[in-house]
């Protein structure tokens, strides 16, 4: 019998209980156990950024973190970004405005990464945005639009 542990995970402000094998990553716990499939699995080895979410306000790669390590922290995923009434987060709105996606697969990770990038104060110029968003790959090549969206959202936040 595979050994499981019981975890209480705080995701988007709500407590979720789950029983998972210790080897389960935060990404797999979110997607397969909590059925929050907004966070995407791209490479599953920390090289693409599609799995980016926030733990205690910091952007992290959920594929390289055990779910067990995130217990006790505040986890924020793309599903929790828009307001309760459905109003989009300014970064989400900027991505729409600038058509900053094609297939959309990298987009939740890009948005979560961008929200944190702006909050960190690392979106002061296009060059800085490119550098500090470099952990999020986009195979469709929507980078120019992504940079424009982050630039606009950062300016609005200042």
């Amino acid at each position: 019998m595979p050994q499981t542990i019981h975890l209480s995970l705080n995701v988007n402000g709500a407590m979720h209980e789950c029983d998972v094998e210790p080897r389960v990553t935060l990404l797999d716990a979110l997607r397969d156990h909590l059925h929050l499939t907004g966070t995407k699995k791209g490479c599953d080895q920390g090289q693409c950024g599609a799995c980016t979410c926030h733990v205690d306000g910091k952007r992290v790669l959920s594929c390289l973190m055990l779910a067990a390590q995130a217990e006790g922290s505040e986890i924020a995923t793309i599903e929790g970004l828009a307001a309760e009434n459905g109003d989009l987060h300014p970064v989400q709105a900027a991505f729409l405005e600038h058509d900053a996606f094609q297939c959309g697969y990298c987009t939740p990770g890009q948005i979560m990464s961008a929200v944190a990038c702006i909050r960190e104060g690392h979106a002061g110029s296009d060059d800085e945005i490119r550098e500090y968003m470099s952990g999020n790959l986009c195979r469709c090549g929507a980078y120019n639009s992504i940079v424009a969206a982050v630039r606009e959202a950062a300016e609005a936040a200042r």
């Binding site: 210790p22 080897r23 080895q45 790669l61 594929c63 973190m65 390590q69 550098e131 470099s134 952990g135």
Partner: protein, 327 residues
């Protein structure tokens, strides 16, 4: 990856005791361990989380130097105003590493312990011969695709390169690794390959890095880290250089110079021959370029990594000339 048990260390002594046993792995940020476990390079039976141990992430800087707890995150140290002011090469080596997400997760201790990116080492399913993974089984890289492999510090058993940046910057400035019961100079912390490439550091079972100390110096305060790579960001070094410079009162004669290189060696590589050639000299392009070539004397190339014989000295030269205001 193989399943394991998970528990959290109650104290550093508990972690040290547990770490003595075979099959036990400590986890901090997890960015190395989980990556390696997914490729089955590492397969622990028990994982012990040390991140909730209090007091191991402090950063303090005074006239003697900087003391950084091993659990301090790369992002925190990279952005720390005192580290940026007194040890810019170290802050830059962190800021130029990995990605923002990884820097938020990864600890300094774990960063030093990172393992080679050799694609044969990381692919046990397809390449069983790897002296680093299984001592005595042979080396799949020699005779294979070796563009990223080391030209310095290799042996007939292994040509894998150490990919980290922080270790290189620390090596330039004589950092000391605190293991709790003993302290080890950074250059001694990493072991040369010789006949035993599976032994990468001096860590004995039960030893855990608790802090890193970097002594203050004028050269450390006037330093930079130059990282040359195929992509502009989020990639390991093809060649890198951590350089520090102090001039005499005349502002032109070199009083102290530190040079360490990365991306080209089996461990972070101090280039003392370059330093010796430039102490007491006035810097100009010719003298710097000639001295920089001393760094690759004795280099052994293998297949596709010959370019590093040229790239490494040029990287050193550019770093020195930039620092010296001559680039």
């Amino acid at each position: 990856m193989k399943n394991f048990s998970y528990s959290r260390a109650r104290s550093v002594d508990h972690a040290r005791e547990a770490a003595r046993k075979p099959g036990v792995a400590l986890i901090a940020g997890g960015t190395s361990l989980l990556d390696l476990a997914k490729s089955a390079v590492e397969a622990p039976d028990d994982v012990i989380d040390i991140t909730r141990l209090a007091g191991f992430d402090a950063i303090s800087v005074d006239d003697a130097g900087a003391t950084i707890g091993a659990l301090a995150k790369m992002a925190t140290v990279a952005d720390h105003p005192d580290i940026k002011a007194q040890f810019p090469a170290i802050a830059q080596s962190l800021a130029l590493s990995a990605s923002a997400q990884l820097r938020n997760m990864a600890s300094l201790g774990g960063n030093l312990m990172q393992r080679t990116r050799c694609s044969y080492f990381r692919d046990p399913a397809n390449f069983s011969a790897c002296n680093k993974r299984s001592p005595g089984s042979g080396c799949s890289a020699i005779g294979g695709i070796t563009r990223n492999h080391a030209i310095l510090g290799t042996s007939e058993q292994c040509i894998a390169s150490y990919p980290g940046d922080l270790g290189v910057a620390l090596t330039a400035f004589d950092a000391v690794v605190d293991l709790g019961s003993r302290k080890v100079g950074i250059d001694d912390f990493f072991l040369p390959y010789g006949a035993a490439p599976h032994l990468e550091t001096v860590l004995q079972p039960g030893e855990i890095i608790s802090a890193i100390f970097i002594p203050a110096s004028k050269a450390a305060a006037n330093s930079l880290y130059l990282k040359v790579r195929d992509r502009q960001s989020y990639e390991f070094a093809a060649a890198s250089a951590a350089v520090g410079l102090e001039f005499e009162a005349d502002g032109r004669t070199v009083k102290d110079i530190r040079v360490a290189i990365g991306g080209v060696a089996s461990k972070p590589w101090r280039a003392r021959a370059v330093e010796r050639a430039l102490i007491g000299k006035t810097l100009d392009e010719r003298i710097v370029e000639r001295a920089s070539r001393l760094a690759v004397e004795g280099a052994v190339t293998q297949g596709d990594n010959h370019y590093k014989v040229h790239l490494a000295p040029r990287t050193i030269a550019r770093a020195i000339l930039t620092l010296g205001g001559l680039a």
